[in-house]
């Protein structure tokens, strides 16, 4: 019976349903004008359980998923606007499923980590977050270009509000920059999408994939898609919105931004740019390699110079995403596998690092690397957690960061050894700034240490940090958990290049 259910649509709309339920919870106010604790608790619990349900559903999906099937699975198809050839088509393949599971995994963590940190407008925060989750899952499962675009841009609305309302001091500037930068990138994709629909007469991805665009068309259309994905990834020199957004966003916002929103760009490249425009991808390959190498080396140096630890991690994200774009445009199996694996592992590790920063920020209210230190004695458990994530970010063998980087290096060596040498060299740079970060935080001596009342991680933080550590190591030892999903879709992508 369950086979015929529109299980994917249920998954997309479940968080929206949860948000609707939260909307119905009344904000009861006591005599002092404060919202009653009871209703706040209800709001938090409903959002937590909705997100956990969503996560369980994605696990169910991945259990029922067939690795060897070449077609999209859990397909759903409804006519939407017949006269324009737009259909509501959603489905999953091995490429989108890992991202959906990652999203559904990170959202409960975000909700738990903002349990006490978000003090005002908690109802609106949870609603924005659940709607954000729904849009992201919709985007990863869309198989119609217009549906994809709708979800892709809709993500901006809740994210803008999350940064703008619950962000730091400079939140207005950061939210505007984030919104306008990404909007500017994606409107060009809109033009490209409209052109494709005009040419092929449909926006259904499965049919569009069969259409052969001429070389000139490919070169131009590729650029239209490229700008929007490059801003999202973000590639150098389109990355300047990222540090601002990260620094100003609340912890949960940073986690979702680094963990998932950056992956939308890489996913877009894999889902649209490569299969639709193979000639153009080959043509632009050297330029993208160049941009990615600059990104890796340059942002590593920039990260080394940061005083603000959140900014440091933000720049390291740009460097890690540089590996992803190199891997994608290697156009061979190792490169693609490495890129997707790097995205998944970066989603976990950078999310965890932002979470860890949030934990100290809650206690010390500073993110200045010089004012922090000696957490190895004051917060020993925390230091152990942080070590795992730091080493994962460095790419130590045995952590998930290693697998992705090595696969990308192998893939790029096959195409262009110089790129492999430069990016391999920069692994050392990554180790330098991350280990400096860890040394200062855990073992360094801070200027105003005694001012803070520091207690070690509490049970809630322990509960959300533990699964992140487990997955960091699990994926490092058994990478096939993720890689199994990717075999067929990557084979199909590479087939268009033959």
């Amino acid at each position: 019976m369950i086979e015929n259910w529109p299980i994917l649509s249920i998954l997309i709309f479940l968080p929206i349903f949860g948000a609707f339920l939260i909307l119905l919870i009344p904000n009861k106010i006591n005599q002092e004008g404060e919202i009653l604790k009871n209703s706040i608790n209800n709001i938090k619990l409903v959002s937590l359980w909705t997100s956990i349900m969503t996560f369980l559903m994605t696990l169910l999906l991945s259990l029922k998923f067939n690795y060897t099937e070449k077609q999209y699975q859990f397909l759903e198809f409804y006519e939407w606007v017949p006269s324009l050839g737009i259909v509501y088509r959603v489905g999953l393949d091995g490429l989108s499923l890992p991202f959906i599971v990652l999203t559904a995994f990170l959202v409960p963590i975000c909700i738990l980590c903002s349990w006490n940190t978000i003090q005002h407008k908690i109802k609106e925060f949870m609603i924005s977050f659940l709607i954000l989750e729904a849009f992201i899952i919709g985007m990863f499962s869309a198989l119609d270009i217009v549906v994809f675009y709708v979800f892709f841009e809709a993500v901006l609305i809740p994210m803008f509000l999350i940064i703008g309302i619950w962000g730091g001091v400079e939140r207005i500037y950061a939210s505007f920059k984030f919104f306008l930068y990404t909007l500017l990138g994606s409107v060009l994709m809109l033009v490209a999408i409209i052109y494709i629909i005009g040419k092929t007469g449909t926006s259904d991805l499965i049919q569009v994939l069969d259409y052969d665009f001429s070389k000139t068309e490919q070169l131009l259309l590729f650029l239209g898609f490229f700008f929007s994905f490059a801003v999202k990834v973000p590639m150098w020199p389109f990355h300047t919105w990222l540090p601002d957004a990260h620094v100003q966003a609340p912890t949960a916002g940073s986690i979702i931004l680094a963990g998932i929103l950056l992956k939308m760009g890489g996913y877009g490249f894999l889902r649209f740019s490569l299969p639709l425009f193979p000639d153009a991808s080959l043509f632009y390959q050297p330029y993208i390699f160049f941009l990615s190498c600059v990104a890796i080396v340059y942002t590593s140096f920039v990260a080394f110079a940061q005083q603000d630890i959140k900014k440091l991690i933000a720049y390291s994200s740009v460097a890690h995403m540089g590996f992803v774009t190199i891997g994608i445009f290697c156009l061979n199996t190792q490169g693609l596998d490495g890129a997707v694996f790097q995205m998944v592992s970066h989603g976990i590790i950078s999310g965890a690092l932002f979470l860890a920063i949030g934990v100290i920020y809650e206690r010390t209210h500073t993110r200045d690397i010089n004012k922090l230190g000696d957490f190895a004695t004051t917060m020993p458990k925390y230091s152990v957690f942080l070590m795992f994530f730091t080493l994962g970010s460095v790419g130590l063998p045995g952590t998930s960061g290693f697998i992705g980087e090595v696969l990308v290096l192998i893939g790029s060596w096959k195409v262009n050894p110089l790129v492999a040498i430069i990016s391999g060299f920069s692994l050392i740079l990554g180790a330098i700034y991350m280990l400096r970060f860890y040394r200062k935080i855990s073992f360094g001596i801070s200027e105003n240490q005694d001012k803070y009342e520091i207690h070690d991680v509490n049970i809630r933080e322990f509960m959300i940090l533990t699964p992140l550590v487990i997955f960091t190591i699990l994926f490092g030892i058994f990478p096939n958990i993720v890689l199994n999903f990717l075999k067929v879709p990557h084979f199909l992508i590479l087939e268009t290049f033959k």
Partner: protein, 485 residues
Amino acid sequence: MFTQNIINNYLQIPGIDGMLLAMPEIFIFCSTLVLMILDIFFFKEKSFKNTNKFGIFIIVIAFFLALLLPSTGVAFNGLYFVSELSTFFKLIILFLIIFVFLLSHNKADFEGIKFSEFNYLLLLSTCGMLILVSSNSFLTFFLALELQALPIYVMCALKKNDIKSAEASLKYFLLGALSSGFILFGISLIYGFVGSISFEQVSNISLKDNMGINFGLILILAGMAFKISSAPFHMWAPDVYEGTPSTITFFIATAPKISILGILIYLIYRVFSGIHGNLSDLIIVLSLSSMLVGSIGAIVQKNLKRLIAYSSIAHMGFILVGMVAFSEKGLHAIMYYLIIYLFLLTGVFAIILSLQKDDKPIELISDLKGLYNDHPFISICLLIFMFSLAGIPPLSGFFGKWLVFFSAIDSGFYILAILGVLFSVISAFYYLKIIRVMFFENSDTPLILDGNREIRFLINLSLFVSVLFFALFPIFDYLILNIRI
């Protein structure tokens, strides 16, 4: 179909067919006259409220007349023409006038325009608009244009003691009269070269390389660009919007523009179909300059209604993008855009009208400070309208923008489309600015929400349409697709 049968079988009196085609207009006009007499003798104290209620009643009846009576035909010796397209525009306009009546119902007192004349003028202007969209000769066209415009000049000046209102009215009148002069001069040129003022005869004559006709057409286009406030003929809009009471601003910002767009579409799709090449360049210039002026001019605005004026200039630019290609897709895109934009503006103006600060209507953008803390629901509505105006999916504004650019790209206007979407990003900036003021900033003086039932209804309706437009899309798709030029 049923009404058609009745008409064919029982009402075959010579001349009556023309009367039937023009029935909505005739009905509105006659009942306005009756209403005036009723008002003088019976309404006395409740003069405004009663005329307002009767006004709604009249418009609703006219709406059904326009909906049910035969929808195609030529009447009055070719002076008058009804097609599905003109019926569509009539229905939209009538719908809109109902909104204007509802908005003014309780707010007229607060805004200082509580004169029953407001209602008569509104009805007369509506009558002019309906005639305008179905005029089939330059004579009807010009007369209807003046019939719709003259009451509006008076309406702008209704708030007698307010100096800004007087300035706005005078400015609107002078520039409106100037543009009418342009149009009249253009018509006279065309009459001189064609020898007829009938649309049918003009469209039958080969117009290609005739300097006189081209020149006349440019003059007509310029005059109409004045009236739809398309740049570079937009100067009156910010001042007039700022000076007039909000109910009337809402009326000026929507109804006359829709009716003029309706006849403009008919003129350039049908009447001047021989010279599309030249026309297309002109419209591209109008459209690009409107987008430029609208999106850049709005950035520095501090007054809320001036900002809306600039934003409406930018939106007019987007609407004109749909017109450059002269394709059916473009026509449908414009229709969608008008419906979507109409609901958004209704929502925005309903919110502006319902808010007060220190017993005064809000004027500046900074008056919206802290709206979120005071009235969460209203501010979330305004947030959705702003995102929708900025064209962010999945809200309704995105679909309008998308369809318009679709029609342009479909006909090969790539550069125009790319520039258009870039301008739309610039214009997103000032919509975000309003959201910022509402959500991210706080203020000491609280905003007072004085929304009555009608206004709440309008806000909810607009919210419904703009959020759930993606679900209504197939329905609109079915309704609009059947309408051809």
